[in-house]
Symmetry: C2
Subunit: 257 residues, 2 copies
Amino acid sequence: MSKVYVIKIGGNVIDNPVATQKFLSDFASIKESKILVHGGGKIATQVAEKLGVTTQMIDGRRITDEPMLDVVTMVYGGLVNKKVVAQLQALKCNAIGLMGADAGVILAKKRPVGVIDYGFAGDIEQVNATQLLAFINQDLTPIVAPLTVDAQGQILNTNADTMASAIATALAKAGAEVNLVYCFEKKGVLLNPEDNDSVIADINKEKYAQLKADGIVSKGMIPKLDNAFAALNEGVKEVHIIHADNVHAQSGTKLTL
Amino acid sequence: MSKVYVIKIGGNVIDNPVATQKFLSDFASIKESKILVHGGGKIATQVAEKLGVTTQMIDGRRITDEPMLDVVTMVYGGLVNKKVVAQLQALKCNAIGLMGADAGVILAKKRPVGVIDYGFAGDIEQVNATQLLAFINQDLTPIVAPLTVDAQGQILNTNADTMASAIATALAKAGAEVNLVYCFEKKGVLLNPEDNDSVIADINKEKYAQLKADGIVSKGMIPKLDNAFAALNEGVKEVHIIHADNVHAQSGTKLTL
């Protein structure tokens, strides 16, 4: 089976039209099969504010009550997803926008209420790799919004990093050679968060444990890296964490087991 | 080639959750291949109002300036489309949400500025019937939002009635036996707009000309009927205008050449 890139682009890049255009142009020029998972949190927060919907975050995760669910459905599924698809089509990339419900690609379950009630947050139960690979084999490029659905048709807000990792894992299990790439506004995992050039080139499991113990890897980065190592554990071939400007060079942080 | 239903559901139905659920349940149970085109104007107007974006309509058509384009992209492409897809998936209908840019299904051109400047309004140039039929042949049910894209990746607001007619025509030209159905909140074309039971069962071209001349067919209905007759002229087999509750019975107005 051929190579598939699963690329995640963060909300801080998507919020910037110039950075987005540069990224999408690079993305479109990737010759191999590819899937894009996008965020959009920053735009969701802006639209929520204009609508008078309060944004509540706990440890970097959004609390999704009913009004916020409508906001993220509009922003992730509509505004961001459709603009990205439209831009990619103009770049001759045959993009198709999807959220979990579309063609039944991702089924989730509402997160049980624990110490924190995340509201309409979805934990992924199943990725339909067969359907995603069918799209890819038709030369379509799936552009996935971070929204899922449960079996009763309830839309759920889902973390885009987790979504990218789950998609990558499912494709790997289906036999694809998968390269998972997290693109964001920094050059990689940084030794010193204040110094954008202090990129750690390679991190394996032991080094990751050490970096966490030393407090070098910070709050926001931990779920991203946990997702990345989970994907490697389950058969994803390579994981890179890079600046959105560097899709081709992939010069950021490379993760290995 | 097998039968394909192209069904359009209006914004006044989509705005009502109970009516929508009933309609989608009936839609999901249609055994033949089908495509749904939806509106969402009423919800767009509500969201626009909350965002402080002014809605401007001329002869029932929305003027789409830049802020309004974001609103309709969010509402049609996100909120409405994704909720419909999610509900249909729960009803075991393998729905896939699309706007014109997705998989390049519909290409449009920004409407030239004439007496009226409609802003980012799209006139359909090309429907990719091959791609739509490919989805149908994979047992996917396209759910189409009334948004298109031009060759430069500019998203454009497009009338849902026109979209349904253009899709039906393109599928007919590709050899499918197409049944175009306009579902809305009335029982059909009415002889007396005040009397919901005064449905005109059959209208052919001559009768249509007479109804227009007599002023019985009113403003909002004229573009719908013009679209319908255009579709029949170009090979669509049947056109029905019915109440959204009546998808199975199709007991409203039947149009013939």
